[in-house]
């Protein structure tokens, strides 16, 4: 093992330095310098990650880099330490690699914005926090990164803070994430109580020695799931992600598609040993993922905002990943994180290119036919659409197929409805193909519905934006080949990740069954795309118009009413409590204090009457006082 692996520990520091430079000196710099500084910082991190990747080729074990001990309390010792192993290096490559492309894209996208340097400072800070999250060797340090990305997400969602809706969306994301964070904290407390340590590797080493299926492991697993559900926008905490689209589009691509929302997947993959001993918790994870995938795919049909469709799609795809790590197929989950990072970042950046070209328009009803005017954006968006739909030979096909087959064969899902989960995810795959076809067709194909002003303004985006699109499009095609179906082909990503993750037993299917499953998923995708094509291309959207007022359509538009439900449950009751406290404050506290103040004022006015200001009156008072003292002394004999 070479020393280069250790250097990877510098990656978060580099991004942090980039952030600090931009935060303190960025305002006086001329564009595009802040963007270049930020991109260089991330590029350096990418180089370190690549070096670590090369350095780890020959070794199954990772490198532990302990920097310093920052807390000692009783038997609890907390070190600032990084775990650079195959799993964390994979995440680092995604974060810095896709992150670099998005940074470069942002130089073009954020051109001329007042907050240019602030944007890059926050984006770099996000990369630093995300790297800390994935590299941490202990839960508390991971939690620091976890909160760090939450803060950056909050800051960047509300980046254009002059429009009130944006910071409100940021606040919503932050508050919903708090619920998940409580789960993470409780899980940490229980972990420490059970294992006596918060070091991730130590917990994973100790977990197999625990009682299989014990209640405490199940509860720990469920609390980590709650944490993951908050960060990864899974049921029932998924409501913040669609609103998070208020941020700049590259932020949606980096934070709310490629990296931060996959933190929950990473967390569950990291504590795989706990879930391997708690099948009830693991299958709950899988079902939460599966149901989220389905519900979000359903909601994606009803959206008309170009980014919100993608947001629900992200929730749905992260649901697939959560399902994969839930059934114990950790390499599969991370593989889908990888492929999704490419095609979803590409979808968002294509959407950003469209929004940029149309001067801020986000309603797909006012788009259409853009592929003819924006050839490169249209082509890359088509590649990404086909990749996420699961069309054969593109990346999404390989990773989604691996997820589907692992739900059927996982030993953790035996007796926990693995077959039902498979069917649910298969149906969702068909829905994915259909709603993504709708997205592509509404924006890039069909007749143009632009208004005259937007049509005149229409232009292809600058080069710093189109180049990242092209590279991501290439990635959306080729990264899938890292994980060819493992029963018939060499599978690089499985061999690469298996030493760093927990081994879970999977049943082996006959090769013919495997081929059958692949054929089935291709068929479902073809049906999904075919339905989309028939509805939007052949019938010009007529079936949708007839369908518009049905309960199903309005349920999809409202995303099954989670937001409305939470508004009643939490916002209304919270407002009631706040109203009560406000009344109490006004009627009791304020009035009491006002009365007390008035009383003191009265005393004060009485006291001022004595202070006449006449020196001779004071002298008389002194004289009388002295006489009184003398009298007291004489009568009581104190002086003797």
């Amino acid at each position: 093992m070479s020393a280069v692996v250790h250097w990877a520990a510098l990656a978060p520091l580099l991004a942090l330095v980039g952030s600090i430079v931009n935060a303190f000196f960025g305002r006086s710099m001329k564009e595009p310098l802040p963007g270049i500084i930020a991109s260089v910082a991330v590029a350096a991190g990418f180089v370190l990650a690549v070096l670590a990747f090369i350095g780890l080729q020959g070794s199954d074990h990772g490198v532990q880099v302990t920097l310093w001990r920052y807390l000692t309390a009783g038997t609890l010792h907390l070190d600032a330490g990084f775990m650079i192993d195959r799993l964390s290096v994979t995440m680092m490559l995604i974060i810095t690699g896709v992150g670099l492309l998005i940074h470069i894209y942002s130089i073009g996208y954020m051109h001329g914005d007042d907050g240019n340097s602030r944007y890059f400072a926050e984006l770099n800070l996000f990369v630093a926090a995300m790297l800390v999250l994935v590299m941490a060797d202990s839960f508390p340090l991971m939690f620091i990164g976890w909160e760090g990305v939450g803060v950056c997400s909050y800051l960047l969602i509300g980046f254009w803070y002059r429009d009130r809706a944006n910071p409100d969306a940021g606040r919503k994301a932050f508050i919903v994430n708090r619920v998940g964070d409580v789960g993470f904290l409780l899980a940490m407390f229980l972990t420490f109580k059970t294992f006596g340590t918060l070091n991730i590797a130590a917990v994973n080493a100790a977990a197999p020695g625990m009682l299989y299926g014990s209640a405490v492991l199940t509860v720990i697993g469920l609390f980590y799931l709650l944490g993951a559900a908050g960060k990864s926008a899974q049921l029932p905490l998924q409501v913040w992600l669609p609103d998070a689209m208020a941020g700049p589009t590259p932020v949606s691509a980096l934070i709310h598609a490629a990296t931060m929302v996959t933190a929950g997947v990473y967390l569950i993959a990291r504590v795989g040993a706990v879930y391997a001993m708690a099948p009830a918790a693991a299958s709950t994870v899988a079902w939460v993922g599966g149901l989220t995938a389905f519900v979000a795919a359903f909601a994606a049909f009803g959206q008309t905002d170009i980014k919100k469709i993608l947001a629900y799609s992200t929730i749905s795809q992260v649901g697939y990943m959560i399902a994969a790590v839930g059934v114990g197929a950790y390499w599969v989950g991370i593989f889908h994180v990888l492929t999704h990072a490419f095609f979803k970042a590409l979808l968002f950046l294509s959407a950003g290119s469209v929004i940029h070209a149309l001067g801020g328009e986000q309603d797909v009803r006012k788009m259409g036919g853009l592929g003819r005017k924006m050839k490169l954006t249209g082509t890359t968006a088509l590649i990404a659409t086909l990749a996420i739909s699961g069309v054969p030979f593109l990346s999404g096909f390989f990773s989604k197929d691996a997820i589907l087959s692992s739900t059927l064969t996982s030993s953790l899902m035996a007796g926990n409805g693995g077959n039902a989960l498979y069917i649910l995810l298969l149906i969702t795959a068909g829905m994915t193909a259909a709603y993504m076809f709708r997205w592509y067709h509404r924006v890039f194909a069909g007749e143009s519905r632009l208004d005259a002003h937007a049509a005149a303004h229409l232009h292809e985006s600058p080069r710093s934006m189109t180049w990242p699109l092209a590279i991501l499009a290439l990635g959306s095609v080729v990264v899938g080949y890292l994980g060819l179906p493992e029963f018939a082909f060499p599978n690089f990503i499985q061999r690469w990740l298996e030493p760093a993750t927990t081994a879970v037993d999977f049943n082996h299917l006959a090769a013919s069954t495997d081929w059958l499953l692949i054929g089935l998923s291709v068929l479902v995708v073809a049906i999904g795309l075919g339905v989309g094509w028939w509805v939007y291309e052949v019938r010009k959207g007529a079936p949708v118009a007839a369908f518009k007022d049905s309960n199903l359509a309005s349920a999809s538009r409202g995303a099954l009413g989670f937001d409305a439900l939470y508004r009643i449950l939490f916002l209304a009751s919270g407002e009631g409590v706040a109203e009560g406290i406000a009344t109490l404050d006004r009627e009791v506290v304020d009035r009491g204090l006002a009365a007390g103040g008035a009383g003191v004022g009265l005393l004060g006015r009485l006291a001022t009457a004595i202070q006449s200001g006449f020196v001779r009156a004071y002298a008389l008072a002194m004289l009388l006082g002295v006489l009184a003292l003398i009298a007291v002394a004489a009568l009581t004999g104190v002086l003797k």
Binding site: G613, F614, V615, R616, A619, L620, L623
Partner: protein, 106 residues
């Protein structure tokens, strides 16, 4: 030798005159003068007692006389400061009527 009670009686008389002066006079100069009178009444009482103790006792009691010197010195210093203030007040207001000096109150 004059008996001590005589001195004390004179001291009490001076103190009373001084007190009445402070209370009744409105001119700051006269108030000041009366204060000095009271100080000297106290001084007189102190030296009278000091003499009585040194005559009747075996040792000479100098502490009383020393105290008087300290009081005289402090009184001189006080006069210097006080008169300075008075001069300033007079320059500003062309009056030293203490009843008019009541601005500091609310």
């Amino acid at each position: 030798m004059v008996p001590t009670p005589y001195y004390i009686a004179l001291s009490a008389l001076l103190m009373t005159i001084g007190s009445v002066g402070v209370l009744t006079r409105r001119s700051a100069i006269m108030v000041f003068l009366s204060v000095e009178l009271m100080l000297n009444a106290a001084n007189l009482a102190i030296v009278a007692f000091a003499r009585q103790w040194s005559v009747s006792g075996a040792q000479t009691a100098l502490s009383g006389q020393a105290a008087v010197f300290i009081i005289l010195a402090i009184a001189a210093a006080e006069v210097a400061v006080g008169l300075g203030i008075l001069v300033t007040i007079f320059r500003n207001r062309v009056s030293t009527d203490v009843d008019e000096l009541s601005e500091v109150r609310l």
